[in-house]
């Protein structure tokens, strides 16, 4: 269509020249005849040159070696083997370091009581509720900080303080205020998650290309549309990074809270088992925490990959 107009007229001209050349070669002087092929060559050359350069080829798929499919299994099996060999070789007593088998047996022993599940649920609900609360407030305050200079000035001392003091130090006072139940852990998780989420949201929104915002103004977009169509997607890589950190921190917050004062939760279980010198049970608690952490991290990574799918195409920055 219109896109090809220049090229089409050029081709037509060449065809016309060629046609007239064939019909009446005798009418033209010899020099013009010699010129004809050269003109045609120039024409094709021009078409060659003006052809749009081929856009970025899809990246060749990375071919995995056979063993890479089993890398996770190999790595875990290796770790277990080393653990087992160390315990057997050094003749460590059970209460210092149990064998993997001892831990597995303790798990099988412990599962039917249903207590592991209840500890699990306690920790996960603390982490999810608190994390969600922290993320929500982090997003809002991150937006406020990115948009308003007074808000940033007023919040700055707290942000700096929060970066230089471990929030965990506030745990006892929060337990004192909100009791040993769910509430105090939710607050701890929310507080721990709040600051990194605030900062990553703020950084993300600050990094939005002002030229894209100007573009939206030429379409007469309102503030809400600019936020929805440009600012949030542009800040998404940072927000997703903040979410990843938040997931891990939220579990950390819940466990720390349970250490300081709780009646349930995986943190409580680990602590309790330590007092009882029931080291295999302690490991059961630890591995449950590992499983929980890995699950949360993977889920957030999956969400990140879905949200940032466009980054897989072509080259960015």
């Amino acid at each position: 269509m219109a896109g090809r107009l220049g090229a089409v007229t050029g081709q037509e001209a060449a065809a016309r020249r060629a046609a007239s050349g064939q019909k009446s070669p005798s009418n033209q002087d010899p020099s013009a005849q010699d010129l004809e092929p050269a003109l045609n060559r120039a024409q094709t050359l021009r078409q060659e040159l003006t052809r749009e350069p081929a856009s970025a080829e899809p990246r060749p798929a990375y071919r995995r070696a056979a063993w890479e499919h089993w890398s996770l299994a190999i790595s875990l099996a290796g770790g277990l083997a080393i653990w087992w060999l160390v315990v057997i070789g050094a003749r460590l007593p059970r209460f210092v370091m149990p064998t993997p088998a001892a831990v597995l047996l303790r798990l099988i022993d412990y599962l039917p009581t249903g207590q592991l599940w209840s500890h699990f649920v306690a920790t996960i609900s603390e982490a999810i509720l608190g994390g969600a609360l922290g993320v929500l407030f982090g997003l809002l305050s991150g937006y406020a900080l990115a948009k308003s200079v007074p808000a940033e000035k007023l919040m700055a001392p707290y942000l700096v303080a929060s970066q230089s003091v471990p929030v965990i130090a506030f745990t006892p006072i929060l337990i004192l205020w909100f009791g040993p139940g769910l509430m105090s852990k939710v607050i701890i998780c929310a507080v721990i998650v709040f600051f990194p989420m605030t900062i990553s949201t703020m950084v993300g929104l600050r990094s939005v290309d002002p030229r894209l915002v100007e573009l939206m103004h030429t379409f007469r977009a309102d503030g809400w549309q600019i936020l929805r169509m440009v600012e949030i997607p542009a800040a998404m890589p940072n927000i997703m990074g903040g979410l990843k950190v938040s997931g891990t921190l939220s579990i950390l917050g819940a466990v720390v809270g349970e250490f300081v004062g709780a009646k349930r939760g995986l943190g409580f279980l680990v602590n309790y088992a330590a007092y009882q010198l029931d080291t295999p049970l302690m490991f059961v608690g630890l591995f449950s925490l590992v499983a929980l952490g890995v699950t949360v991290f993977s889920l957030i990574s999956l969400a990140e990959r879905r949200a940032l799918r466009w980054r897989l195409h072509g080259h960015h920055r």
Binding site: M1, A2, G10, R220, M236, W310
Partner: protein, 277 residues
């Protein structure tokens, strides 16, 4: 020919007090329907400011701008703005990018898609509609940006050095396509360029601007006719016209009132060093 754009006595100064920089001073010109007008001026002469004022991205401090006889408080609804960079949203595919202005206008999804597909066909990019901007060449990206500005059918396209970032071959090709677009749609275009040859190749008229603060110091009518092939650049007439624009640019640097050059006085020949000839 009726006028689409009337700029009258336009002035704009950045900042205030002793540190203020006047960018545009008492600028007046008109653009007729279906016309392509090129604005050429020295670097930093306020060309971009002029386009932003016309679009409504900046508010004039003095003078008036009428598009289709109407003034506008904010961004004018009848203006399509094409920037030097394509400014595509990297997380959207080509078609989603082209649909963006229609989504802002709250058009229904199928309607927006239909219009966007037609616009992509006009610029010859319908095969690439599912690709992401990062997968396109520079010329294709700029075409997507042109398609995006065509979707809402503005009365005038404002183009700020639209092809300056492209290589010479893509640029010439897109120049020709813009002429084809005008033939097909009758679009009015006002574009800023720092390339004298591009201005003469595409424009029906070339407005030569003075040094900052910008005002029109010479108008060169391009007598090449509306149908132009790239080979027109080899004609004598083309050379004559570019020479006229170049002369006007040199003259534009000369302030008639004080009879001296504004800014630094150029050495012989150095004056044109910045210019792509």
């Amino acid at each position: 020919m009726d006028t689409v754009l009337q700029v009258h006595n336009l002035s704009y100064t950045y900042g205030w007090g002793p540190r203020s920089t006047p960018a545009v001073r008492q600028l007046s010109f008109e653009v007729g329907r279906g016309e392509i007008v090129a604005l050429v001026g020295p670097s930093g002469s306020g060309k971009t400011t002029i386009l932003k004022l016309i679009a409504g991205l900046l508010q004039p401090q003095e003078g008036s701008i009428l598009i289709d006889g109407r003034a506008s408080d904010g961004v004018h609804p009848d203006v399509g703005y094409i920037f030097q960079e394509p400014r595509l949203l990297p997380w959207r595919t080509v078609i989603e990018n082209v649909m963006l202005p229609l989504q802002v206008q709250r058009l229904s999804q199928p309607q927006a898609r239909f219009t966007a597909e037609r616009a992509l066909q006009v610029v010859g990019l319908h095969d690439a509609e599912q690709r992401y901007p990062a997968e396109l060449s520079g010329g294709m990206r700029q075409r997507a940006a042109i398609a995006r500005a065509l979707t809402y059918d503005p009365a005038i396209l404002l183009m700020d050095e639209p092809f300056a970032a492209l290589d010479a071959i893509s640029r010439e090709r897109l120049n020709m396509e813009m002429l084809g677009l005008r033939r097909a749609t009758g679009k009015t275009m006002l574009f800023v360029t720092h390339s004298i040859s591009e201005a003469v190749l595409m424009g029906d008229r070339v407005l030569v601007l003075s040094q900052r603060p910008a005002s029109v110091c010479r108008e060169v009518r391009v007598s090449l006719g509306p149908e132009r092939a790239p080979s027109v650049q080899d004609s004598l007439e083309f050379t004559r016209l570019t020479a006229a624009v170049r002369d006007a640019l040199e003259y534009g640097g000369f302030d008639l009132e004080s009879e001296s050059y504004m800014g630094e006085e150029p050495e012989d020949g150095e004056w044109l060093a910045d210019w792509e000839l």
